[in-house]
């Protein structure tokens, strides 16, 4: 096999691994953001349901 093959393959792997890492971090961040939004929504509903109790706490 030609040397160019190995060279290109190594760049492909480099691209692949960095893409996986970037993708994982972005997706993870998005999932956390969504969880926080979900909690926020639940929290607001709880507060509006019983404002007096929340004020005490």
């Amino acid at each position: 096999m030609s040397h160019a093959f190995y060279v290109n393959l190594s760049y492909v792997f480099a691209g692949l691994i960095t893409a996986i890492m970037i993708g994982w971090i972005l997706l993870d961040g998005r999932a956390r953001r969504q969880e926080m939004a979900e909690l926020e929504a639940a929290g607001i509903r709880r507060r509006s349901a019983s404002p007096a109790k929340d004020a005490e706490a």
Binding site: E35, E38, L39, A42, R45, R46
Partner: protein, 215 residues
């Protein structure tokens, strides 16, 4: 539909834990099994649920006077000491799984996940992992499992053990509603469930009188 148990006997080791227990339940009837620890209350329930093979006797369903094709375990919910929920999954994932897995027995329909959570007084936290909840909350969601899929027979083993008074009341409400809609309940308990009309089966260990109080 009627649930009939004939001459159930269960052996543990060399001894008979109980023998020749017979009872019959019609729609809307409840049977409370009482007795001291070790008298075989749990074992009786597990036998009816098909989890223990009885030494003798059997339990079956009667419909229109004939023996039904459906087996008792399929027609029953069993709520044991453990909650049958995974702590790693969220409440919704847990209930969703049981809802799809169990399906509905003919003649009824289970509640939606959120409605069931609402019914046990814990709406709005179904997105939390089950393991984050307190013991009392976990127990309430274990009850919610009974609501999300329809089963005519409820087998309840110490259902109110980890519950405070208000949840206790809540649960009695479920049982009563279930009975009103034509369900049957067999519950093993120390404490009274607060039900108005029930029959009682007192387990006395080995020297009991067979099915004395049962119909």
């Amino acid at each position: 539909m009627r649930l009939k148990a004939e001459n159930l006997s269960v052996r543990r080791g060399d001894d008979l834990l109980f023998s020749n227990i017979s009872f019959e339940l019609a729609r809307g009837e409840a049977l409370i099994v009482t007795g001291r620890n070790g008298s075989g209350k749990s074992t009786l329930l597990r036998t009816v649920a098909g989890l223990i093979h009885p030494e003798g006797g059997r339990a079956y369903l009667l419909s229109d006077g004939r023996e039904s094709e459906a087996k008792v375990p399929e027609a029953s919910h069993y709520l044991g000491h453990r909650n049958a929920m995974k702590v790693e999954l969220t409440v919704r994932e847990n209930l969703d799984f049981w809802k799809t897995w169990l399906g509905d027995f003919e003649g009824g329909k289970g509640l939606g996940i959120e409605d069931a959570a609402d019914a046990v007084g814990l709406s709005g936290i179904t997105h939390l992992p089950f393991g984050y909840l307190s013991a009392g909350q976990q127990r309430r969601f274990a009850m919610a499992r009974l609501l999300v899929s329809h089963r005519p027979i409820w087998l309840l083993d110490e259902p109110t053990a980890a519950l405070d008074a208000s949840a206790d009341q809540l649960f009695s409400g479920f049982v009563e509603a279930h009975l009103k809609s034509g369900g049957m309940v067999i519950a093993a308990t120390h404490q009274p469930l607060g039900l108005a009309e029930t029959r009682e089966l007192r387990m006395k260990g080995f020297d009991y009188l067979a099915g004395e109080h049962a119909a």
